[in-house]
Amino acid sequence: MLAQALLLQLGYNATLVTIGAALLGAAAGITGTFLFLRKRALVADAVSHATLPGVAMAFLIMVALGGEGRSLIGLLLGSAVSAMVGLWCMNALTRHTRLAEDAAIGAVLSVFFGFGVVLMTVIQSLGVGRQAGLEGFLLGSTAGMLFADAVTIALGGLAVLAVIAVMRRPMLLVSFDPEYAAAQGVNVPRVDMAMMALVMAVTVVGLKIVGLILIVALLIIPAVTARFWSERAGQVVILSGAFGGVAAYLGAAVSATAPNLPTGPIIVLFSAALFLLSLLLAPGRGVLAAILRHRRFQARVHMRQGLLALAQGQEIFEPLTRRLLRRAGLMRADGVATDDGRAQAAKALRDEARWAMLRRDQAQEAASAQYDGLRGIETVLTADQIAALDARIGAPKEAI
């Protein structure tokens, strides 16, 4: 069954939903990256929670107009309108009052959601809410989805991706460095607005699959995951889209195999699994790499400091420094340097003197700015330049 699902052989609707989810996941991953690079990831949380009153209101209006209130397009339209109102409130709060963005996000999120819940209870009291399956909008449900709905979602995901393809350059520029972008003639507020529109589009399209509580995960998690693997914005965008697409595809397929596997949470959990792997194992920013690097770095600092202390005949009291020096065979247990230690200490001291001499040379400012106590001088100067420095310093001092 799982293999069937993954190979898109579980019927027409399920296939369409899975493809739609993958498109949506990719679109969300990419859109989310811009948001994340702009340090506004949780704005999406406010936007998605703000859709609830709109969904409920649209339902009530459609019922009042004599319809059934089930039209997905109508409900999504309502959700878009109320998300926009929520976004406007958030901007108004941060612009015109002293509140910081996080407070504005939380306020809009909770109040809109609360109001949405009020409207939902109104719908329930009308006695037609259950049939409309509005609960599905909270956590997403693809079970029993109509063919037309599945098409709507797939097309929506495709449309968002198309818009991103057109807008990617200015959006990347703005999310990377808004001031530079403005200087380049990019209309930053308009690009920001477009970015928010995309967030809203992703939210609205994703409501039915993932639900409004978890849609924010599709926007944030892939972007954060991708950030672990690359330092280049362009690559982060593409990776994020890939992570988002893969997680959504797997999630939708797996959830189609059994009735009690809700689509939204499964997709989010696949996404979170990818994130967890990246957090632990990514080469640059991953936890394991960071721990190893930090220990190596600490050891380098202590070694260098120890060598300099040896060279100047100072006693060393840091236990870690002593242990490292002894392990490297540079110092005996009683604190006296070995021959090897003396040689290396003299070299360290001489390097310090070379750096000091280098710093006095105004022409070498760029090179001397590289100094951080650890970097070997041979990494910034040629052998000839070092020889020239040595000539200016004079004969090497006797090591102690």
Partner: protein
């Protein structure tokens, strides 16, 4: 009047009010520390905590669930910090990763577990069920002095009352260190204050308040009360103590007005059924915030934020 009010309305009113204040109090400090959304995160991760507690104990019993939820809150805060530090990820995004993933896990566990025999579902976790917390043994105001009747108070009431007391005690005791470390963390460290521990303690207290409130009134109120009353209070004054007092007033007003509007509002406009009290309380707190944002005497920034 008392014969209906005391059994049906007094307990939910008190529970709502206590829960609102218990969340609004630590919310003041979270707001000033730019951690307003911690409340959001905590109330999301309470769900997996509760479900796990249920799976372990096999029953809906209060204390394991409270511990489960509080444990999940602490785990989430630690995880957020780890991701933020190690991955050099901005706090908002780190938060977003952690609480959505944990919430998704909670929902999945819940769907996989047979909870049909017990009252445990996502909707309950979100909206709570304030209206159902009634005190059937009460016959009128006199029941407040009747020990037998008092023993049958909804257990949520004493629980949230004790929680509120704990929150008040914590803030009273640590008021000055909290204020100092919130305003100027570097200076606080040179005083020898354990600022990291203090920050964590604040989050734990907020988590306890959230979990106790959550149990009674659902997570919407929790998030709304962490943020809206303190944010509205921020527009009213430039003094910390006064701000906290305003936030308590706004929280109480939201709770009472929200409950009344939810219960009687629909009747006034000719509908028969009450609407969600939790939702209405959140809505009222939003209206208060909107009013203060437009009319509050101190709604504009007074000084530059840190780092400018």
């Amino acid at each position: 009047m008392g014969s209906e009010f005391v059994p049906l309305s007094l307990p939910p009113l008190l529970i709502g009010a206590f829960a609102a204040v218990a969340c609004a109090l630590p919310g003041n400090f979270l707001l000033l520390r730019r951690q307003a959304l911690i409340g959001d995160a905590i109330s999301h991760v309470a769900l997996p905590g509760i479900v796990v507690a249920f799976l372990i104990t096999g029953a809906i019993s209060t204390w394991p669930m409270m511990i489960g939820a509080a444990g999940a809150a602490v785990i989430s805060v630690v995880l957020i910090e780890v991701i933020r530090r190690l991955g050099r990820i901005e706090p908002g995004a780190a938060m977003g990763v952690v609480f959505t993933a944990m919430f998704a896990g909670g929902v999945l566990l819940l769907e996989q577990t047979d909870t049909s025999s017990v009252h445990l579902d996502v909707e309950h976790a979100l909206y709570g069920n304030l209206e159902s917390l009634i005190w059937l043994d009460a016959t009128g105001w006199g029941s407040l002095l009747d020990w037998d009747a008092l023993r049958h108070l909804p257990p949520e009431l004493p629980r949230i009352a004790v929680t509120l007391l704990g929150v008040v005690l914590f803030l009273w005791l640590f008021w000055r260190p909290l204020a100092i470390s919130t305003f100027d963390e570097g200076f606080a460290r040179t005083l020898g204050l354990r600022t990291t521990a203090l920050g964590l303690a604040l989050v734990v207290v907020a988590a306890i308040a959230a979990v106790a409130a959550f149990d009674a009134v659902g997570s919407i109120i929790v998030i709304a009360m962490f943020i809206c009353p303190p944010a509205a209070a921020r527009m009213m004054t430039n003094r910390l103590g006064v701000q906290v007092a305003w936030s308590v007033a706004f929280a109480l007003l939201s709770a009472v007005l929200g409950y009344v509007l939810a219960g009687y509002g629909p009747l006034w406009i000719g509908m028969y059924d009450a609407v969600s009290a939790a939702g209405m309380i959140a809505t009222v707190s939003g209206v208060i915030l909107a009013l203060t944002a437009v009319f509050g005497p101190c709604r504009h920034r007074a000084g530059a934020p840190a780092g400018v």
